[in-house]
Symmetry: C2
């Protein structure tokens, strides 16, 4: 059995250097949507990989940012892939940061910086883990591929095409995905899938210009049309009633149901956090948790029409109206198929003036729970951490996981990573606990070793 | 029979002075909602009235601006009231004005200034007409009361209370209301009533803060609640289905129907102006016109929720949502009664989290078509203008007319005034045709004389 104490000792011995590495990575402003420090971050990752002995390729398709593929070839039959991304979210609103987002700062044993949790912490922890592994055990007895993309925070628009164009180079047997969080009680989490996302805009432009509201009696209203189009997406009970929407929904199997029922979901704390007294549909317990992970949603992200200044008395019939909606999808719904169904629904229901634009279409993904990586990550977590890991058959958020699981056919597992629910991911003052970062380096060494042991 | 040529001759002789008077009035920035030049305008009107021999009172209630009452007492039994207002709309957006809004400028025989059409042009024309009348015919053989309020452009919030508090001083037998427009073909218009207006805001605040949209599966959505609340106001056919909404609607009588059917409504031009191919409900002809004047509406003035930036991919469940709606009401609907019904509807339909605020509640008003003033104004218009006046039993817009017709019990008539549909009322580059201003002075002299003749 792997000697965990030896790993912990080794990691702690170089801990300061690993923290410095992470600080360096976090000081590079690799905001994908703004093109800042983007090349510099790709170069930094490439250099790191090369120093560790990888052969690095830059993968792209026309118009795409470059994904980095760091190949550690063991000449062996089995290949483990590690997926992370080198881009980070924008930093707005900047004035809410207590220290500059790209000037990594340690306060109260936490490292504050944009990307510390999402996803440079996990990326650097894994690079460090590989170094520790080789110091302790020599070369890996299996092939390892780091796939580090650069557009996760902007919807991974080209990721599917990049993977399709380089499918041969991207063959693998298992894939480590970003990283699960520690929950508020310190329990690590692991994910084996994610929901999909269809993000659309509805736009209705009905008149040449805004009108005095007295014309409402004969002039069509863009605001009414958008509002009624959206209202028609749900029935009186609040269920999505777009024809065919649920056709491909596949209920989770008994094993997944059991896992879902076992998820600790602190209802009291959630209600308090949201400032409400009950959840939608008055759901609780298993019903609530099954819904959380297995039900698709139709969410209104934004609405805009006419004159919306509180207190003002402008009587106007707005010429146009605008809405943003997202549908979280579950296996085996297909985002493009759902888009087509929404489009058909608008047509059939007579909302021909409401134009739909697709901003994002990512499929849901559910990976087998019994993959070799899954087994190894779970078993290692059970021994490594103080508390057993919670296993999520899928998480309620969305990532480009489907490209790996479905297109490339590689089972994924997202083992415990460096973030926590209060890490302020995508928000000002993003941070991680230094302790979690060090702990995850060790845990990663441990499961890389266990994966190796399985091959013997 | 009154000698119209003599009147025209007399008015033209002093035309330049009347135009200078109007320019002076329009140079005073009496924006009611902003308190600019407000006192100065009231002083100017008071001085004008006093010079003409009126006894002027300033009417108010606690918190209200002052309404001016200029009383010309003839010691006679009959009293004619003239209603106008000395406040004007705000001037934003200022950069779209071709000449400064309070620097009255003549271009192409039009006078450009804020208030030129709404309503200083009519007010000054009537003050000038009284001067002409007295030069030509001596003192009026009936009492005349100018009632000039200062908050018409901000909803006449206190007007009802002012009139109630001074009902004795405000007794009259007929009331001249602001002024009808010349339509695009140069036909003068007269109105005998107006629609009412209930202007409300709906606000729903459902969560302590915005959430990641994945929480839509259990966290309530303010945007959905506001949207569904509004959607519930209309049935599948687009008719307002708030319980009791139509209870007090009184259909116009046969005479009013006849007048409505006779209204020239250029459907082609309206469709072109709006950029559409058919009106709501595919209505045309009499059906369209009867709807225009006799149907109440529910209009969405504004919608706002969450992240409404086109193209952006923020997946957010907004904590709050906001909407502004106006209901145009028809006789005998009561704005406060309708507000109560909307409130009850929200409650009954389960939208308890959607809070309603009333911004404005003005009742509709329909005055008898056969009042003495109505008769006189119609008969005079038929001879004075090139084209016969179109008689509207009520107009589709809203004003505080109900206070005069219902509360004070005075029949009103809005005889042809100085505005046109392209006068840019409430908009940049407000203007009137100099010719219309001069013409309306003369017409006013003529109907004041005809009103006098009826008393003999």
């Amino acid at each position: 059995m792997t000697n965990f104490d030896a790993i912990r000792h080794k990691v702690l011995g170089s801990g300061q250097r690993y923290i410095d590495d992470l600080k360096h990575a976090c000081s590079i402003p690799s905001v994908s949507t703004e093109g800042m420090g983007f090349e510099a971050m790709a170069d930094w990752v490439e250099e790191k990989l090369q120093k560790l002995g990888a052969e690095v390729s830059r993968l792209s398709v026309p118009g795409s940012p470059e994904a980095l593929l760091g190949n550690f070839d063991a000449g062996a039959g089995r290949t483990l892939m590690i997926y992370d991304h080198y881009d980070v979210q924008p930093v707005d609103p900047l004035h809410l940061w207590e220290s500059p987002p790209f000037q990594p700062t340690i306060r109260d044993e936490k490292l504050y910086a944009r990307g510390a949790a999402d996803n440079k912490g996990d990326l650097v922890a894994r690079l460090c883990a590989l170094e520790v592994y080789r110091d302790m055990y020599g070369d890996l007895p299996y092939n390892l591929k780091f796939l580090i993309e650069g557009e996760e925070e902007s919807g991974s628009i080209y990721f599917e095409d990049i993977c399709a164009a380089h499918a041969e180079q991207l063959r693998a047997d298992d894939c480590v995905w970003e990283g699960g969080w520690f929950d508020l009680d310190g329990r690590p989490e692991m994910y084996f899938g994610c929901k999909g996302l269809l993000y659309i805009e509805l736009h209705c432009h009905r008149l040449l210009g805004d009108q005095h509201s007295s014309t409402a009696v004969y002039a069509p209203s863009a605001a009414w049309e958008v509002l009624q189009a959206i209202a028609s997406f749900r029935d009186a009970a609040g269920e999505i009633c777009i024809e065919g929407f649920h056709d491909r929904v596949v209920a989770p199997g008994p094993q997944e149901m059991e896992l879902i029922d076992a998820i600790p979901f602190n209802e009291e704390a959630q209600l308090r956090r949201l400032g409400i007294t009950e959840f939608v549909g008055a759901r609780t317990g298993s019903d609530l948790k099954r819904h959380l992970l297995c039900a698709p949603t139709a969410n209104i992200d934004g609405l805009s029409a006419g004159y919306a200044v509180p207190g003002g008395q402008k009587t106007v019939l707005p010429a146009e109206a605008f809405a943003k909606l997202d549908f979280r999808l579950v296996p085996d719904q297909d985002a493009h198929d759902i888009a087509e169904k929404v489009q058909q629904h608008l047509k059939k229901k007579g909302f021909g003036h409401v134009k739909m634009t697709i901003l994002s279409a990512e499929n849901p993904s559910r990976s087998p729970l019994d993959s070799m990586l899954g087994d190894v990550a779970k078993a290692t977590a059970a021994r490594w951490f103080d508390k057993p890991a919670t296993v999520y058959p899928l998480m309620w958020a969305t990532g480009p996981m489907h490209v790996i699981t479905h297109d490339l056919g590689i089972p994924i597992c997202s083992p415990p990573g460096v973030g926590r629910p209060d890490s302020n991911v995508h928000a000002p003052n993003e941070h991680i606990h230094i302790h979690d970062f060090i702990d995850v380096i060790g845990y990663t060494v441990a499961y890389l070793k266990k994966y190796a042991d399985r091959l013997i």
